[in-house]
């Protein structure tokens, strides 16, 4: 494509989240330290760094301490240390306090807005000479003649709905790099292509996922307990469905509340969005939010496969870091520290290969080697059997987890395995429809007024970024057999079955999309492919 211009960098990083920014920062630190030239570019599809970041979040500072030991002096937005951990089992009416499992203890950790932490990391990166370009989506992987990755291209801007060039059309740019780092987060759209192309998932378990739905509230000061961390399991999930909630009190009267549902759920009538709304009606939960204001809303899929789902991390010309590779520690409900550590480790390995004899193609084999020696590997190995044990249901899983954690200390001589989430859904005919309560407009809300608070938007006149391999399949299969499950699982009201002139059709409201990637994961026939929309489209999360 001769029309496209190109720019050259030593390293291009796709994604301005914690792992991508940690990679960038560490690379420039080493370069400055050794006094060598090294150009590093970060591409971020959100309108700014942080715009698409959504997390709980309680952050363990281990990786941050290694990356920027003086983070406190540099003004990192870690303002609320965890003061109290609560772990509660809910029944429909009651809340039964449990002993907090050891991996869920949070002493020394901080409750943060991960979006704001990323905004701050971006400032640090730019101060070190990293070029950060927000509002540009990497939409295509570029390969050289030998089949190695040689960079990425950003998407075209100004294409119309039908694919033709609009009045302000601009071709995307090619960004060439000796090493390209994929830090796209969970279910990255380019990472997914790399898995196929380089067969990176052979010999490992399929990745499994959860969807996290989060709201940010400003609550009555009398009900605010800075530093309080509460996790629940049980109601409103049935005992067979993996899911739980989090509630973090932080900053000035802010409370993050969220619900995570394992995407291996089987009932197509289940709506993760409605589960969060229903959860808030619990007598032990509701009161915190009465009289408060909901400020923001959003959703994001997370990788839950853990140790046994980690793919091969490198390929000629590049590597994968962060949750794109699946470094989330699910039982601990944390991944920022592991993601950042993977970025730091990758940066060190990349620096090594860039300084050595550059033989084409370059593969940073040292990265997985170093990571295996690090605390990340040990931590993930230890927790590997907890999530899969939940296939047996909540109670057996909790018993098993207790044995695995406490008696065996994670050293069980076996490893439990995963099944892909999209195969777990059962036909609607075999399932019971779920009656969700109507929103009260005070504590619980409908989907569209929720999406409103994500500040999401996409330029309207552009090709739909939710692509169908087979246009007929949604009605023929999903609607008929699975009760149109995408209407339920999509937290943004993107998918709607609409009858027009006596004919049922799937309407895709792509503008509403919050980039959570659930449809790409859960569609039973893997018919939906999420591709990057025009740069800067998507949510604009403040303080999420």
């Amino acid at each position: 494509m001769p029309e496209r211009e190109s720019m050259d960098f030593d390293v291009v990083i796709v994604g301005g989240g914690p792992s991508g920014l940690a990679t960038a920062i560490r690379l420039r630190q080493i370069a400055i330290d050794r006094d060598v030239e090294l150009t590093v570019c970060v591409l971020e599809k959100g309108s700014e760094v942080g715009a698409h970041i959504l997390s709980g979040a309680v952050v363990e500072t281990r990786a941050l301490d290694e990356l920027l030991p003086n983070w406190e002096g540099l003004g990192a937005p870690l303002n609320t240390p965890v003061r109290k951990d609560r772990f509660v089992f809910l029944t429909e009416r009651r809340a039964i306090p449990f002993i907090t499992p050891p991996q869920m203890h949070n002493q020394g950790n901080y409750i943060v807005s991960l979006g704001n932490l990323c905004r701050w990391l971006c400032e640090q990166a730019e101060a070190l000479g990293v070029e950060v370009y927000a509002g540009f989506a990497a939409s295509e992987v570029l390969y050289d003649d030998m089949g190695a990755v040689r960079g990425v291209a950003t998407g075209d801007m100004g294409r119309k709905k039908d694919g033709s060039k609009g009045p302000n059309f601009e071709f995307g740019m090619e960004l060439h790099a000796t090493q390209t780092v994929f830090a796209e987060g969970c279910r990255g759209s380019l990472t997914k292509q790399l898995f196929e192309r380089y067969d990176l998932r052979s010999g490992v378990d399929p990745q499994v996922y959860g969807i996290g739905i989060k709201e940010l509230w400003e609550v009555d000061p009398a009900k605010h307990h800075p530093g309080l961390v509460t996790h629940t399991v049980g109601w409103p999930m049935d005992l067979k469905t993996y899911g739980g909630s989090f509630q973090y009190h932080f900053d000035e009267n802010l409370v993050s509340i969220g619900f995570v549902v394992g995407l291996d759920y089987s009932n197509p009538y289940l709506s993760p969005f409605e589960e969060l709304q229903r959860f808030k009606t619990h007598p032990a939960i509701r009161d915190t939010f009465v009289g408060g204001t909901r400020i923001s809303y959003g959703a994001r899929a997370i990788s839950a496969g853990g140790f046994q789902s980690i793919p091969k991390l490198t390929f000629p010309g590049g590597l994968i870091v962060g949750d794109a590779a699946g470094f989330l520690n699910v039982p601990k409900i944390k991944g920022t520290h592991t993601g950042m550590k993977s970025g730091i480790t990758a940066a060190e390995a990349i620096f090594g290969v860039l300084q050595g004899e550059i033989s084409n193609p370059v593969e940073a084999n040292e990265y997985p080697e170093r990571l295996k020696q690090s605390w990340v590997w040990e931590e993930l190995y230890r927790e590997r059997n907890i999530k899969p044990s939940f296939h047996w249901g909540l109670i057996p899983a909790m018993i098993y987890s207790g044995i695995d954690k406490i008696l065996l200390r994670g050293k069980a001589p076996w490893t439990l395995h995963h099944r892909p989430d999209h195969l777990c859904v059962r036909p609607a005919a075999n399932c019971k429809p779920i009656e969700y309560p109507k929103p009260d407009g005070l504590v619980t809300f409908d989907k569209l007024s929720s999406v409103f608070l994500s500040n999401t938007n996409h330029e309207e006149d552009q090709p739909c970024h939710l692509t169908l391999k087979d246009e007929a399949l949604p009605v023929a299969l999903n609607f008929k057999k699975y009760a149109g499950l995408e209407q339920q699982y999509c937290p943004a009201g993107v998918y709607e079955y609409v009858e027009a002139e006596g004919k049922m059709g799937l309407q895709i409201n792509a503008q509403n999309c919050v980039h959570c990637k659930t449809c790409d994961i859960k569609d039973p026939s893997q018919n939906i492919t999420w591709v990057t929309p025009e740069g800067s489209g998507g949510p604009n999360y403040p303080n999420m």
């Binding site: 309108s47 100004g158 204001t293 409103f452 500040n455």
Partner: protein, 249 residues
């Protein structure tokens, strides 16, 4: 000829603003900020005028905190040649902005000044007109079409119920409306180039402008929630009520 184009850093148009819980102002912490969309149209128009060979240089100006440098860099990435930031952390109201711009006009001597018709934060719709008054220049507000005719500008304006065309003598102020043009996308290499363009910084004091606010914000609150009215039985009742009760038709 030189064009001066004023750009304001404002809350991004996709973001819903909300009042602070104590009503003392608008919550802007960690909220995405961008160039005021009307100002983007002004920058685009300046570039088109330059591309048509009518203007030699485009100077983008912003007034506000340090972060306005980003807004100026965006203007320069679009095509402005250099930037001037009048930096202050104080609130600067339209009259004070107009006075600052006037001081810069005296330094820069532009032939045209382009501004957005209003900023989407305070929705004042004043600065361009005020600047024209202070400079004793002609003003073409709410422009949806700009044409050069010798020493004059022919400007189509969006007015209530249609459009109007006027002619203004140069030098002149133009404030732009939505339909004037569609701003171009910023290209990646141009962002890099923009980082190297000249950006001068002044303080209001250096320009000898008093920016003391004239309006004091007493309270910022959500608008009252609208409540439903009556249900009518049929269209006859509806038309009757619209005619005789609401008096809107």
């Amino acid at each position: 000829m030189k064009i001066l184009v004023a750009v304001k850093r404002a809350i991004d148009y996709n973001v819903k603003a909300r009042p602070k819980s104590d009503g003392s102002g608008v919550e802007l912490a960690n909220v995405k900020m961008s160039m005021n969309p009307f100002d983007e149209i002004a920058v685009e128009e300046a570039i088109r005028i330059q591309e048509a060979g009518i203007a030699a240089e485009i100077v983008a100006v912003s007034v506000g905190p340090k972060q306005c440098q980003e807004t100026l860099r965006t203007a320069m990435a679009m095509g402005a040649d250099r930037g001037i930031l009048v930096e202050t952390d104080e609130e600067v109201q339209p009259l004070a902005v107009a006075k600052i711009l006037k001081a810069l006009v005296e330094k820069e001597a532009p032939g045209i000044i382009l501004l957005g018709k209003q900023a989407i934060d305070d929705d004042s719709n004043q600065t361009g007109q005020m600047l024209a008054a202070l400079l004793k220049w002609g003003q073409a507000t709410f422009a949806c079409g700009v044409e050069f005719a010798g020493e004059e500008l022919k400007v189509n304006r969006e007015v209530d119920g249609g459009t109007q065309s006027i002619s203004v003598k140069l030098p002149a102020i133009i404030t732009v409306d939505l339909r004037l043009n569609e701003p171009r996308y910023v290209k990646l290499p141009n962002i890099m180039k923009a980082k190297k363009k000249q950006l001068d910084i002044f303080s209001p004091a250096e320009l000898e402008v008093d920016i003391t606010p004239r309006l004091k914000l007493i309270k910022a609150e959500e608008p009252p929630v609208r409540v439903g009215g009556v249900t009518v039985a049929d269209v006859d009742e509806l038309v009757d009520k619209l005619r005789n009760e609401a008096k809107v038709i």
